[in-house]
């Protein structure tokens, strides 16, 4: 398990990253925390020709509290966001979900934006981005665009990011007093989720989001539902997610988790 050969650049500015990505097209990869990419490179699932290390770019290492949103730069590590004093107040859902991303030994290096770029269907941060309705800030050498979470995830480990684009940052809305809930089932704390769910109130009712079942994290907005109406909505959603059997769990078990965790979390936030 040794990597195939590649060139390496320690970028000092975002412009250097963008020109590298433009020149090499799909053969270049951004290297952030390396906690997913290096494993793929070691297994030779990924064989980039160029790795562009973005962790020495100061302008990407900011967490900024703006009016109504928190902007998290590409160089912000998971452990740094967890230690950010404003987290629990501004982003309570992230405060609940982030400790489930891997282990202390991987959160110390892994980034928030790297987790989104990697787009594992079980990953917690993509779930949080979709549940909160955040935005991905994409930048290439020639353009900048902001993409809503629901358009960003295109499939299993597949996103709408073009090869020449850097995820410069993400923004997550601050929901004020809204009460969020998160729950995950995994073999062990720190393993990828079998099912992870998030719930929060919306002005019209409730939002419920699920990762680990469909190829992409998926959210549904419902009016305030209770009793059998809620059971029906959850059951319909569980089937729409098109669960599959794998070594970790059966499709049926996953649907069951969606229904039972859904009932619990929605009850919790509507209290």
């Amino acid at each position: 398990m040794k990597p195939a050969a590649f060139d390496y650049v320690r970028a000092e500015t975002a412009d250097e990253v963008l020109s590298g990505l433009t020149q090499e097209g799909g053969n270049a990869r951004v290297l952030a925390g390396g906690q997913s990419l290096m494993a793929m490179i070691n297994m030779r699932v990924a064989k980039p020709k160029l790795l562009i290390d973005i962790m020495h770019i100061k302008e990407l290492r900011q967490i900024e509290r703006k009016a109504g949103a928190v902007v998290i730069g590409a160089g912000v590590r998971q452990a740094e966001l967890l230690a950010w004093p404003g987290l629990a107040e501004a982003l309570p859902l992230v405060a609940l979900a982030l400790p489930w991303v891997g282990h202390a030994q991987t959160r110390s290096r892994g980034t928030i934006c790297g987790s989104l770029a990697h787009a594992d269907p079980s990953a917690e941060m993509p779930l949080a981005l979709v549940a909160l309705g955040g935005e991905v800030h994409l930048r290439s050498a020639t353009r900048r665009r902001r993409m809503p979470a629901r358009d960003f995830f295109a499939g299993m480990m597949l996103t709408a990011r073009a090869d020449d684009e850097l995820i410069e940052a993400i923004s997550l809305p601050v929901l004020g007093e809204a009460r969020c809930a998160f729950r995950e089932v995994a073999r062990r704390h720190g393993d990828f989720a079998i099912v992870a769910c998030a719930a929060m109130p919306t002005p019209a009712g409730i939002r419920f989001a699920v990762a680990g079942v469909a190829d992409v994290p998926t959210a549904r907005d419902w009016p305030r539902l209770e009793g059998s109406a809620l059971d029906d909505a959850l059951n319909g959603f569980a089937y729409e997610l098109d669960a599959r059997d794998d070594v970790h769990a059966t499709a049926r078990y996953r649907r069951d988790l969606v229904r039972s965790i859904g009932r619990d979390l929605i009850g919790e936030v509507l209290q």
């Binding site: 990597p3 590649f6 720190g190």
Partner: protein
């Protein structure tokens, strides 16, 4: 833009357990292999090479780091600590290492270097951990011998002794 070519060897300099070291590496050389093969620092073990087992865990610039998920060229200029650096002197074990010995917290020892680094790093920041916190930290490591219980006992004992500054004999 300083591009390190794939098929050339490039100088890598860093501080290893307080001493300046220098050797050459291709961009694709993993830090785990660089430590073991170029520098002869074989205390850091290599198990899975994809970040899961924790055997290769070291400390880079105060961050717990999987050496197998890190390139040697990435740590140029960094401060690195490995298991070779945790004993106060070559003939004396650290308090944590002594607690491992007393509690039989290792059998084959394959996982031990990584676990010691995680615990050493954690205890220096959280001198009075709960069992829950130690279990949570150990979720980042696999040990196929001990069943973890003696490791948890050793960690809690080392923390307790460090805060009460008394220690029982090694024997």
């Amino acid at each position: 833009m300083n591009r390190l070519e794939a098929d050339a060897r490039h100088p890598v300099r860093f501080t290893l357990n307080g001493k300046a070291v220098e050797a050459e590496a291709e961009p694709r050389t993993l830090l785990s292999d660089f430590l073991r093969q170029q520098l002869g620092a074989t205390g850091t073990h290599v198990g899975c090479e994809h970040g899961v087992c924790g055997a290769c865990t070291i400390v880079v610039d105060d961050m717990l780091t999987r050496a197998c998920l890190t390139l040697a060229v990435q740590v140029d200029g960094c401060d690195i600590r490995t298991v070779e650096g945790i004993a106060p002197s070559p003939d004396r074990l650290s308090a944590l290492q002594r607690a491992f010995r007393r509690n039989h917290a290792l059998q084959c020892g394959f996982c031990t270097a990584g676990i010691l680094m995680s615990l050493d790093h954690y205890l220096s920041r959280h001198p009075a951990p709960t069992e829950e916190e130690i279990r949570e930290l150990l979720s980042g490591h696999l040990c196929r011998c001990t069943g973890y219980t003696p490791i948890i006992r050793a960690a809690l004992e080392a923390a307790r002794l460090a805060t009460s500054s008394e220690e029982t004999s090694d024997a």
